[in-house]
């Protein structure tokens, strides 16, 4: 990356060294293609999938409806008070990263991270216009001409186009995609939509076109964290120096030479511009393209593949000493990975169970604290409760609220002038709504304190929720 200046003095800053990665084919390149197509397809297509939820909810399969505070994911609808599902997903994502890193190293960085995927996409566009590595270097050094300028214009135009589509797809997750697309094109979309698209277009363009590996090296905390996550039994991209060294090429090769012919193929294909032969290093995103490059070379010089390969540090040591490497099954299945997987699976199962068992009717009861109780003229005592009934289904639901316990008590809604107190009240809750009522409960001056509000849906489902409450009275003077 950046060596100190020749006089040994550190400089104030280091220029970014240009990297022109060479195109390479092979197994890992195909794997990267597959992951890239899958992840980009998911990202761009998902907002356009429709999902019928009836007349009271949007028909977009995945939608973060910030204005109405709802999150829709296919058949699942999340309300703000159910945010713990999102927390659960984040916990799973965190443990998932630990799990993946412990087993197969930085596979996330190398294949699935958006920064990697979009940089890869930008690299392919660059190659399609400017040609491969050597042509790119030539073009960079060439004086400015109409041909060079038009190529540059085309490249940056395409990059900006990708950025625009990327930023555009992002906002579709937050509003009805067809409507927003129409409004966007006709200039009627909200200011915030244009601003978001502009910012994301700019970040995609800058991060994919210019920053590239700098994001991984300087902005992302993950390369630093992985140092703590990896151990000597994690699969990482490794140069087997016991096999490759001493490296030599051309006439210098002899009986004692290692397999490495110092062809620089692994260095030229590297998108972060490092030499994997220096050993495991934080800059390596384990994209494995150097494996593809080296395997091609080994085939050409008739040596076995895998001079650079996915291997554990333990295996490298064992192989160097002439022992057999641990089978891949035993590398992946070990106490640490099993512990991560169990935790990850337990969180996932807990979330699935919670989702399956959740009721779409909810009751919250808040006891009025000021005043806690009111002395009535006939000697009885009154308490007030603010109740919130949440109907989380897209249909109106008739419900009945009843008092459980508290003998002699009765209640009425604060909004009625009709103080005919009853043991049960009926409401009809509109679809997808929260209904708030202030309920007065009157009870004799003496008696128990603990009771409950029971909310029962008056339809076939008979869904019910019970919420415990307390009834407060003035302390009796001795």
């Amino acid at each position: 990356m950046h060596a100190p200046s020749p006089d040994g003095q550190a400089r104030l800053y280091a220029r970014r060294a240009d990297i022109f990665p060479r195109a390479i084919g092979g197994f890992y390149r195909r794997l990267k293609w597959a992951v890239m197509v899958a992840t980009l397809a998911i990202y761009y297509v998902t907002p356009w999938i429709r999902w019928n939820r009836g007349p009271y909810a949007p028909d977009q399969a995945v939608l973060v409806d910030l204005a109405h505070r709802r999150f829709y994911f296919f058949a699942i609808e999340i309300w703000p008070h159910e945010f713990y599902y999102v927390v659960g997903l984040l916990v799973m994502a965190g443990i998932g990263l630990f799990l993946v890193t412990t087993t197969v190293g930085r596979a996330w960085c190398g294949y699935a991270c958006p920064q990697t995927v979009w940089t890869d996409l930008f690299l392919h566009i660059e190659r399609a216009i400017d040609g491969d590595r050597n042509a790119q270097v030539r073009l960079r050094k060439a004086p400015w001409s109409i041909a060079k300028a038009s190529r540059r214009l085309l490249k940056h135009g395409l990059w900006l186009g990708v950025g625009l589509v990327t930023g555009g797809a992002w906002v579709f997750y937050f509003a009805d995609a067809p409507t927003l697309a129409h409004n966007f094109v006709t200039g009627q979309a909200a200011y915030v939509a244009y601003a978001t698209i502009a910012i994301l277009t700019a970040t995609t363009y800058v991060f994919g076109g210019f920053m590239r590996e700098q994001v991984c090296l300087y902005m992302c905390p993950w390369p630093r964290i992985q140092g703590a996550m990896l151990d000597e039994r994690s699969l990482i991209v490794t140069y087997k120096d016991w096999r490759g060294e001493p490296r030599s090429h051309g006439l210098k090769r002899s009986e004692t030479s290692g397999d490495c012919i110092d062809c620089q193929a692994c260095v030229q294909v590297c998108p972060v511009g490092i030499d994997i032969r220096d050993g495991a290093q934080f800059a390596c995103i384990t994209c494995a393209l150097c494996i593809d490059a080296c395997d091609q070379m080994m085939a050409k010089i008739d040596r076995p593949r895998g001079l650079i390969d996915y291997a554990t540090l333990e295996d490298c040591k064992a192989e160097a000493a002439g022992a057999k490497p641990v089978p891949i099954r035993r590398t992946i299945l070990r106490p640490r990975t099993i512990a991560y997987f169990s935790t990850w699976g337990a969180v996932g199962l807990a979330m699935v169970f919670a989702l399956g068992a959740r009721t779409r009717l909810d009751l919250a009861v808040g006891h009025d604290r000021n005043p806690l109780w009111v002395q009535l003229s006939d000697g009885a005592v009154r308490n007030a409760y603010t109740i919130k009934i949440r109907n989380m289904e897209s249909r109106a639901r008739p419900v009945a609220l009843t008092l459980e316990g508290l003998p002699g008590a009765a209640m009425w809604d604060s909004l009625t002038d009709d103080h005919r107190a009853a043991r049960a009240l009926g409401f009809v809750i509109a679809p997808d709504q929260v209904d708030t009522h202030r309920i007065y409960v009157r009870a004799p001056a003496t008696g128990g304190q603990d009771f409950a509000f029971l909310l029962r849906a008056q339809d076939q489902q008979r869904t019910h929720v019970r919420v415990a409450a307390r009834f407060e009275r003035p302390e009796i003077q001795p």
Partner: protein, 289 residues
């Protein structure tokens, strides 16, 4: 500069510091990082010119854009006022006594009244309207001057014992002790009787004497059954609710010196919409009739 140490493993100069064998490398920053840093400095300078930034002796520099937090607040308040204007206009015109209690306008009135109460009324009646000694609890079902929306509206506009307001609620209980109408022993007997009808004491000779004194002195306003009379604002003496207290000492003081609680006539101070909102809110507190 002196010769700098070079870290053997990386070939990078060190800062010359060492902690437990760990050395700090002196890696150069990436250029884009430095440029971003300079860009932030330039932005900060521009920001200081555009917005209030530098504190001086009496005030800060104003900034070219003329933005102030007070101005922003005023702007947003005006926006909120404009959004509420239609509702407030409707509330100013409506007859709150006959407004449908379930209507959206009534809900708006109650919410508006909740806020207006905190500003105008909470000083005496408390934030929860639970009152205090001498200041009635507005949550209960015991009303001196009536608990319908029309009654509450009337009380709000004209107040209680408000000088200069002809329609104000006015009543004067005689100070039976101070004015020499009743002797101390008589007052004691009357108090015994009041504590009997409010079921705080058992009947005895004193309360029997007090009953006769009550019939001649008090019943004209408080009623023969001591249940009070709203046309005089005379409280019900038989229930468990006391404005000043139902114990012997407080009752003795009340009978001897009388009580003349006051409330301002809010009609001259508040606009019709706010009066309607306060009426709706107080009525919704649970004791509304």
């Amino acid at each position: 500069m002196t010769e700098r140490k070079i870290d053997e493993a990386t070939g990078v100069p060190t800062m010359g510091h060492e902690w437990d064998g760990i050395q700090e490398l002196d890696n150069p920053m990436p250029r884009w990082w430095l440029l971003t840093f300079y860009a932030c400095i330039i932005f900060a300078i521009g920001y200081c010119i555009a917005y209030p930034a530098i504190p001086l002796l009496h005030r800060a520099t104003a900034g070219m854009l003329g933005w102030t937090s007070h101005g922003q607040l005023a702007e947003e308040t005006a926006k909120a006022e404009a959004a509420r204007a239609a509702t407030k206009a409707a509330l100013a015109k409506v007859d709150i006594a006959t407004l449908d209690p379930q209507s959206p306008l009534m809900r708006a009135a109650i919410e508006g009244g909740r806020a207006a109460f905190k500003i105008n009324c909470a000083a005496c009646h408390g934030a929860g309207a639970a009152g205090a000694k001498g200041y009635p609890n507005l949550n209960d079902d015991d009303w001196l001057w009536g608990g319908t929306r029309a009654d509450i509206h009337q009380t709000l506009i004209h107040g209680i014992r408000q000088p200069g307001d002809d329609a104000t609620h006015m009543s004067r209980m005689p100070a039976f002790g101070r004015d020499g109408i009743l002797k101390a022993d008589d007052i004691d007997d009357v108090v015994s009787y009041i504590r009997l009808v409010s079921r705080q004491e058992r009947a005895n000779a004193s309360s029997a004497r007090g009953a006769k004194l009550f019939a001649t002195n008090c019943a004209v306003c408080h009623g023969n059954d001591a249940r009070g009379g709203r046309q005089f604002g005379a409280p019900n003496l038989t229930d468990g609710i006391w404005l000043y207290g139902g114990d012997r000492d407080t009752l003795t003081a009340t009978v001897a010196n009388a009580r003349y609680g006051v409330m301002p006539a809010w009609g001259v101070k508040l606009d019709p919409a706010t009066l309607n909102m306060l009426t709706a809110y107080v009525h919704s507190l649970g004791g509304g009739e």
